[in-house]
Amino acid sequence: MHRLGALPRFAAACVAVVVGAGLAGPAPAAEPLGKVETLPAPPGRHWVWVSDVLLRRAALVDADTGRFLGMLPGGPGILAPLRSLDGREIYQAETYYARGTRGARTDLVSITDARSLQPQGEVVIPPRRSEHTSWVAGSALSDDGHFLAVFNLNPATSLSIVDVARRRFVGEVETPGCSLVYAAGPRRFFSLCADGSALVVTLDEDGSPVSKLHTPRWFDPRADPVTEKAVRRGDRWFFVSFEGVVHPVDVSGAEVHFAEPWPLLSDAERKESWRIGGMQPFALHAPSGRLYALMHRGGPDTHKAPGTEVFVYDVDRRERVQRFALRNSLASFVLEQLRMPTGGAVDWLLQHLLPAHGVERIAVTQDDAPVLLAATAFPATLAVYDARSGGHLRDVREVGVAVNYVAAP
């Protein structure tokens, strides 16, 4: 209605403009006015989301060309778009205040048309969704695509369940002592608990919880906690501990099963103080079973330090099959400002002269010619690598201001 109410003002505007230009009336356009693009369907295999915490949007970027396809706006905090199973809709949990940082808080799940990127609707949820810097596992879509779960921390922990198909808030499931949310079946999620167990929440067809069961303790949260930044391959989640031990979690059966842990790092590598690190340190290419891990050299408490290399593992053979160095993202950024090509003398100089700045976030596409995305928050950079060879393909220019999340759906 705002739009309709505005029409008279359009008229006034045109008159104003026309008078200003001394025209008797606006000239009929040789080209149409008002055209707005829509995206082709299905989505490209190398379309990736790059969320920006200052610009408050998730940009849809074609990693093959570095071109922007469009943007999904959001408010402050976590912007992590989830695509519906049929690819036609995008869901995102968002938070708004009536007066910027004050006034009534509204949390909601927005539904956006994947082709027009126009809002299709919203479902208001309890105003307590969690904010945490990694932006990982803050919300999850059930494997049947019907239910979106949003993690609340306030500091009581719970999940808000939204029926995205019926556009309704189902209810809140308390998860005392357990945090975050991971999809684990058609209508099943699990959260990680402070005691080293997981809480498995199963929903009925209406989205109401039919069971809430604690698994046995499957890791030691005191001696060597797993990071919450897990990656998934089909029915198997892969959690990695601070010390680099992989804990596979199998969600194929009626009960969640925990496979044998295995180490990412050899004793020699530990001696060299190689360590996992970053805000999104892991990515997994499901078809090939390749696990990509951001690695750096550092001591304890550096589990969030940026990675300078990517170690590549075969999760079936449980062994490293490759490793490659990442470009200095700071140097890449300066090079972009220079409008200079990669591989030149200046590039070389920058890569070696500027302080090594690793990568905070990686993601990999799931097609047969996968690309690995490597992002840093600031300077905001997004590098595209050939996920198979590790070769640098391109840097995406002007990707944003503060890249806080990257996803390759």
Binding site: A6, V36, G70, L350
Partner: protein, 180 residues
Amino acid sequence: MTNPELDRLVEAVARRLARITSRRGFLARIGVALVGAAAFPLLPVSRASAQGADAPDDSGLQGTAGDPASCDYWRYCSIDGFLSACCGGTHRSCPPGTEMSRVTWIGTCRHPLDGKDYIISYNDCCGNSFCGRCLCNRNEGDRPVYLTGKSNDINWCMGTPTAAYNSTVAIVLGVATGSS
């Protein structure tokens, strides 16, 4: 300074810093974004006759003057904003998820090949979020805010459901006869 490479790097970093401090730099972008401005100098289009006039053929244009994703593109002679062509749209269509403003200003740009002056409508794409890419600012003829139609300080996302600025297009309305 006896180390050319080093000099170049210093200059490079300095230029980089200088650039982000210039009106073309990022925060200029933000500034622009916040005002959603588009520079539309008042041009003698009073004898404009667009009837039947088509947009010219760009196929013969060499280099960036023919690239709608470049600030050098001929249609952008009076633009100030992010190029829609860098944001998910094209030089004459807005990115997905935005809406094209109906309020606008009109400039006149000469086509490099046919030498004709074309009337260009610079419409802002409104809503969604800042694009933040390909800021293009050709500031000639800017005038104070009270000369509304001539001021690139003004947010032209008006009348749309939201005044949030995303980017700007450059649409050919027709030929400005006699204005050359």
